[in-house]
């Protein structure tokens, strides 16, 4: 019947037939369909992402001849040994991880009530406005926003001017770890709000009613029902805030002080300053390992169970 139609319409029987056979094959084999959907992105992923990561690992095992400055392509753990024994590197790594953790916790604490209000209390119009407000900063350049914070935190900046007007002592936050913490928390906040919002929005209202119906007051309902179900969203957000802070090297340069180096800054200096790419690569492996450990812990805590 279909063939006759094709012929009547003057379609090339062969091409239409091949298309139909392909369609039939895809319909009969859902796996084939899945494979053909996945293979292009997987290929790109392997070529771009995995290859880069492997290159990073491989080059971290090379060294540089200190006389000639040439890379020695022989396997050695010298870079990691140097990192392990170098107290200065410990300080930088610990500072990076602690600030990333502080930023994550801060963002989670700020984002949760905000996302809760957006998801459960705000009307549709107010919700749209809040969405725009959350996303608006992302339209401005990262650099512009960090510079704006520089203007706020400078000794003669907006913050101290306001404090002065209120008769309060000046807070000299510029070029400190506190400044980095504030700026990172601000910059990555939308990346926490959005997944937490998505998780909260997915919790049916009847769960909350059921909890109250069974005798739980608000605090109990929050602890036993809402937080566990929002946890995947919080973890997803924390992966953003934690890893984005962990890998950053611009904010430390712009608002951090001389003793505010991040892992990224050391990597930058060893590649562009000292010309020691292998050492930079070795130090860059550290955040990757930290992130991997973090994900394992999150899984242990059951963060992905409610997905």
């Amino acid at each position: 019947m279909a063939e006759r139609l094709d012929r009547a319409q003057g379609l090339g029987g062969n091409r239409a037939g091949a298309r139909r056979r392909l369609g039939g094959a895809l319909w009969r084999r859902p796996r084939l369909k899945g494979a053909s959907l996945l293979s292009p992105p997987v290929l790109a992923f392997v070529l771009v992402y995995v290859a880069a990561l492997v290159a990073l690992f491989v080059s971290s095992l090379w060294t540089v001849d200190s006389f000639t400055g040439l890379t020695i392509h022989s396997w050695t753990l010298d870079n990691f040994r140097e990192l392990w024994h170098g107290a200065a590197y410990h300080t930088v790594a610990v500072r990076t991880i602690l600030i990333a953790a502080a930023v994550t916790v801060t963002d989670a604490i700020i984002a949760f009530p905000f996302a809760y209000f957006m998801a459960r209390l705000a009307g549709p119009r107010l919700r749209a406005v809040l969405f725009v407000l959350v996303l608006l900063p992302l339209w401005a350049s990262y650099l512009a926003r960090v510079y704006a914070w520089q203007l706020i935190l400078n000794s003669d900046g907006l913050l101290n001017w306001s404090l002065g007007k209120l008769g309060l002592p000046a807070a000299n936050l510029a070029y400190t770890n506190t400044a980095m913490w504030i700026v990172f928390s601000y910059i990555w906040l939308p990346f926490m709000i959005l997944p937490v919002y998505a998780a909260l929005e997915r919790i049916p209202h009847s769960y909350i009613e059921a909890s109250r119906d069974l005798g739980a007051k608000s605090g109990r309902t929050l602890r036993s029902v809402i937080l566990p179900l929002a946890l995947p969203g919080i973890v997803a957000g924390s992966i953003f805030t934690f890893s984005l802070t962990l890998g950053d090297y611009i904010t430390p340069v712009l608002v951090g002080g001389t003793s505010s180096q991040f892992i990224g800054n050391v990597v930058y200096d060893s590649v562009n300053g000292a010309g020691n790419l292998p050492f930079g690569a070795a130090f860059a492996v550290v955040p990757v390992l930290v992130m991997g450990a973090y994900l394992l812990v999150a899984r242990r805590l059951g963060a992905f169970e409610a997905l």
Partner: protein, 328 residues
């Protein structure tokens, strides 16, 4: 302690929409009481007002004689079985069922024993370790039931709990719910739009329409003596006839085909299985539905008949929209 519920002059509106329009209701201790009505008739809102999820604009709710109108849901001695079950997906069946006890501070050993007992009662012993997603619809429904009754509330509120189940399971659950209610001696307040369900299980039925109660009575009363045209039409099938300016309801199974009443002609014969539905146009211009058991005797369309019924089978009913007509 008495577990009787009363709803007095309760009204609730959302913007311009009046969901519940001055409802009065008294539910006796240990009763199986059903709120029956089409969707949007205010039955669920009334239930939610009793549960404490909604606050009435006016009126009050009492439980065992105590005014609970301003009590939050967590301090009311009632529990709800939700239409979508609302089982916590991150907890096991046992944790779901034990939630209310845990919140009240019942110790672990005691809680475990009570959870096991109630799971046995709903025939889910051995399922405590599973997650809700691993259960079938009927099993989830029973977990929701167990989670509520384990707290031994004075009143159990059930919001269309069988709506998502298929017919066979629904009928089994109707029998089970009724026997469970008898066994527990608990007051059940049940919301449904299914008239058969309401008639099967209830001691009393309140028929809702457009935010108001049209009639309260035993299933028998509501079916046999509908007070209004709406009740006659919503509960079962009914023939509404107008005679001398009054309106009457006659049930299809009470109409005789070869009586000595009004003459008419059979226009259609519909086979439904156990019975046959026969449509008759009387010469006076009414269309009547008549129901006959399938006893083998066939009636053909076109046959002249004389429809008749006993006087006591015709009940005068209040016409629908009396109010509007009065206003006009």
């Amino acid at each position: 302690m008495a577990a009787d519920v009363s709803v007095e002059g309760v009204r609730k509106s959302y913007g311009d929409v009046v969901a519940v329009d001055t409802v009065d209701l008294t539910v006796g201790d240990g009763e199986f009481f059903t709120l029956l009505g089409p969707s949007g008739s205010g039955k669920t809102t009334t239930l939610r007002i009793i549960a404490g999820f909604e606050h009435p604009d006016v009126g009050r709710v009492t439980l065992g004689g105590e005014d609970i109108t301003n009590e939050p849901p967590y301090s009311r001695d009632v529990n709800t079985v939700f239409q979508d079950y609302a089982l916590f997906p991150h907890m096991t069946v046992a944790d779901n069922v034990g939630y209310g006890l845990k919140v009240k501070g019942v110790g672990r050993a005691n809680r475990k024993r009570q959870v096991e007992e109630v799971l046995r009662m709903v025939r889910l012993d051995g399922y405590g370790g599973r997650r809700p997603v691993q259960l079938s619809g009927g099993q989830r429904q029973r977990v929701a039931l167990a989670r509520s009754i384990v707290n031994r509330p004075k009143v159990l509120l059930l919001d269309e709990p069988l709506g998502a189940l298929d017919l066979k399971l629904r009928q089994e659950m109707q029998v089970f719910l009724k026997s469970l209610q008898r066994e527990l001696g608990m007051t059940f307040l049940y919301v449904t739009h299914d008239q058969e369900e309401a008639l099967t299980m209830s001691d009393h039925v309140a028929v809702f329409n457009e935010g108001k109660i049209e009639q309260v009575g035993s299933p028998n009363e509501v079916y046999e003596r509908p007070a209004t045209e709406f009740v006659a039409g919503f509960v079962g099938t009914s023939n509404i006839l107008e005679r001398d300016g009054k309106r009457f309801s006659v049930r299809p199974e009470r109409i005789e085909l070869n009586g000595n009443g009004e003459p008419g002609v059979v226009v259609d014969v519909i086979f439904v299985g156990a019975y046959t539905r026969i449509l008759v146009d009387t010469d006076a211009g009414d269309r009547l539905t008549v129901v006959r058991q399938n006893d083998g005797s066939g009636v053909e369309p076109g046959t002249r008949v004389h429809v008749g019924w006993r006087d006591e089978d015709a009940y005068e009913v209040t016409p629908q929209h009396t109010l509007e007509q009065e206003v006009r």
